[in-house]
């Protein structure tokens, strides 16, 4: 794999693309994980944790919290087409936007792919903006579109 320096803006910008890279690892979202996320965050809405009631609800079953799907990006993290070298650390800077577009019922298997959409010079380093899209296996419509920003520091 090619290596690009974090401060080589020209070459990094050359990696901005309309094409998504390969799919990353698959992750199955179990009801047990959803329950643990509910306990951790205090979001015990019935649509997430009351399996009986959710069965006759709008999605025919319990669904994962949007923020859980977002956080699972760390597990699904799709590979970039290049290595970034020369930085001391990378920091989660935030997101341009994220959208929850389709529910993720418990038992679903998710995977994600990514593309680089912007490279920005910043007082503390370089910000790479990547678009991550997470789909349930076989679903054409993504469940999550996440434009995340990482700050790569000298």
């Amino acid at each position: 794999m090619r290596s690009l320096r974090f401060d080589d803006l020209d070459h990094l910008r050359g990696e901005i693309t309309d094409e998504f890279g390969p799919w990353g690892p698959e992750v199955t979202v179990t009801q047990e994980m959803i329950n643990r996320f509910a306990d951790l965050t205090g979001d015990h809405q019935w649509i997430h944790v009351d399996v009986e009631r959710a069965r006759s609800g709008p999605f025919g079953g319990a669904i994962a919290h949007g923020f859980f799907v977002l956080a699972l990006i760390a597990r699904m993290y799709p590979p970039l087409s290049f290595d970034i070298v020369g930085e001391s650390s990378r920091v989660n800077y935030g997101a341009e936007s994220y959208r929850f577009l389709a529910p993720v019922p418990s038992g679903s298997t998710l995977h994600a792919r990514s593309r680089l959409i912007d490279v920005r010079e910043h007082a503390q380093g370089t910000i790479l903006v990547q678009e991550h899209v997470a789909h349930i296996l076989g679903n054409e419509r993504p469940s999550l579109v996440y434009k995340g920003m990482l700050l790569h520091r000298p």
């Binding site: 951790l40 965050t41 923020f67 597990r75 989660n92 800077y93 997101a95 936007s97």
Partner: protein, 157 residues
């Protein structure tokens, strides 16, 4: 008593758009146990979050919480509602048009949030309301997290 506004009364809802933040919500202490459980659930096990010994010698002098953990804690630090939306069916977490992590949160820090309504628009699937939510460590001037939260209020089924 809290003012009640129908979900489809867009002009009355828009009158609630404000430059000022509302009152602070409840306080929550972030613990290493929460950070560890979030790491187990999400796979974000970077040493800066979970390796206490190594992080003590790292850039922040201790571990720090995952940014998305703070975001996910929203229901525990939920800000008081300035008004009550009535008459709607499902509520959908639609997403965000901006999220910034500005200051690290360390285990033992106590956080709270305040918010303001920033936009209300009619949408094909109901009414779309946008709030700006700002999370601070208690008594810190600089926020730790600022994000927009868009919620869709669907008509009753």
């Amino acid at each position: 008593m809290t003012v009640q506004i129908r979900f489809d009364d867009v002009s009355s809802l828009r009158a609630m758009i404000k430059d000022e933040y509302g009152p602070w919500g409840p306080e929550l202490e972030i613990t290493q146990a929460m950070i560890d459980e979030f790491a187990d659930l999400t796979g974000d096990r970077q040493w800066i979050h979970v390796d206490v010994d190594r992080a003590n010698d790292g850039p922040f002098g201790s571990t720090i919480a995952q940014g998305l953990l703070t975001l996910a804690m929203g229901p525990r630090i939920r800000t008081p509602d300035a008004f009550e939306v009535i008459g709607h069916g499902n509520l959908v977490n639609y997403g965000s048009d901006g999220l910034r992590f500005l200051e690290p949160i360390r285990p033992g820090d106590v956080i709270h949030a305040h918010s303001r309504l920033t936009d209300v628009v009619s949408h094909a699937m109901g009414t779309r309301m946008q709030q700006e939510i700002v999370v601070h460590i208690v008594d810190h001037d600089r926020p730790s997290v600022v994000f927009s939260a868009i919620t869709l209020y669907a008509p009753p089924a």
